[in-house]
Symmetry: C2
């Protein structure tokens, strides 16, 4: 399997390529890309080679060509449909974030078990009760469930959605969910970013 | 330097230990911890050994002892003060997230350049104008600036805060910021999580 460090970089390459495409730049060099990251040119070329896309000697990589190769490689030109559970602070921020669609993730329904919230609008959705999930799953092919529910509810919701056949979970609750072997699980621990910053600050004796 | 993959795991160990401490569990084994992660016991023991903490043969690791060793190792028992720029959807969710304090990050002031927002409350803060930053910096030792501003404003805000002597940036805007050699930068690309899920879904042919 590909190391996550590599996969983490690819979306950033894609971002830079999108910006260059908007400026009608035709080509980009690995040196230009290396200038953005703390990696050297050979690492950039190695990363790109995994997508199978080749540059043109003396010119570099075609901006449009490489962008499309990355999209195909990451599978972001397939449209993954997602449902989101937990229309709270973080869930609402994610629902209204246009950036997710750029990476092939389209939220098509939002669920929350708070009776006060059910039926009220968030973004361009009306919040649904979790009991409506079977109806939504019958009408759409749902690839991913995004969990922005409290820690105490996360495992229960995870079991609910995987029992309905959803095969990928993007979990924001700060705990390790247990899922079957056939389910793809990605834990996002936003607080880990804070811990890493604390660690590096401590190490560099900025204290 | 430590591989990020290792550092990413440590906050999760800390979470599990916090839960065990609440349940008054005295000891925990590396086998128990391995059950939560997709890593084997030797990897758990290797990760823990980096903090210098030792287990007790036959018993395992003292829950309290290991928790404190991780806190000291990550530096999360030092209190890092942070300022946040961009009191929008994501910024507001982060301001109200108690989990950040668990990892040693305390937001002490919130800035936004939208005149409508300046002076209004968010969480237990009143939103300040960026022009108030010098006053805040004179009264507090600010370790970290959290950037939840739009992509177009991020580099300018980054330059503003590093010029004032702030040494660490936690950037949520989807672009690569350029900072001096003495500044610690962590980019959080939430959309990368979506891209990785798309990639793994495509690979496992769930389509
Ligand atoms: N706010 C942040 O910045 C942030 C950052 C990192 C992680 N997190 C984590 O993300 C999760 C959400 O955080 P938040 O700040 O948005 O919390 P929140 O309390 O604002 O929102 C949680 C929502 O989940 C709903 N909910 C609870 N149980 C449910 C269930 N069984 N089914 C459907 N909906 C349910 C609640 O009604 C509420 O609307 C938490 O686990 C938190 O630890 C939040
Ligand atoms: N919403 C999400 O879930 C999400 C997810 C991933 C990344 N992001 C990124 O995080 C950033 C914030 O996203 P959002 O959805 O909260 O946007 P938003 O528009 O809701 O909030 C941005 C805030 O920044 C303020 N601002 C603009 N320029 C500023 C400046 N120079 N100084 C101080 N404040 C300034 C605006 O007034 C606004 O309040 C964006 O870069 C976005 O791409 C957001």
């Amino acid at each position: 399997n590909l190391p996550e460090q590599y996969l983490k970089r690819i979306p950033f390459y894609h971002q830079i390529l999108s910006e260059l495409a908007l400026k009608n730049e035709a080509y980009v060099s690995s040196r230009y890309l290396a200038g953005f990251f703390n990696v050297d040119e050979t690492q950039i070329r190695k990363d790109i080679s995994l997508t199978g896309y080749k540059g043109k000697p003396k010119y570099g990589y075609s901006v449009q060509g490489l962008k499309e190769a990355i999209e195909a490689y990451l599978g972001i030109n397939y449209h993954n449909t997602a449902v989101l559970f937990g229309a709270g602070k973080l869930g609402t921020a994610l629902i209204e974030y246009e950036g997710l669609a750029d990476y092939g993730l389209e939220i098509i329904a939002v669920f929350d078990n708070n009776p006060v919230k059910i039926g009220s609008p968030v973004g361009h959705f009306n919040i649904l009760s979790p009991s409506a999930l079977p109806r939504v799953i019958r009408s759409f092919d749902i690839g991913i469930a995004i969990l922005t529910v409290p820690k105490t509810a996360a495992q229960e919701v995870c079991d609910q959605v995987t029992a309905m056949g959803i095969k990928a979970i993007w979990n924001f609750a700060p705990l390790q969910l247990s899922v079957g072997m056939d389910v793809i699980l990605r834990n996002e621990n936003l607080a880990a970013g804070a811990a890493l910053l604390s660690y590096y600050l401590k190490k560099s004796n900025h204290r």
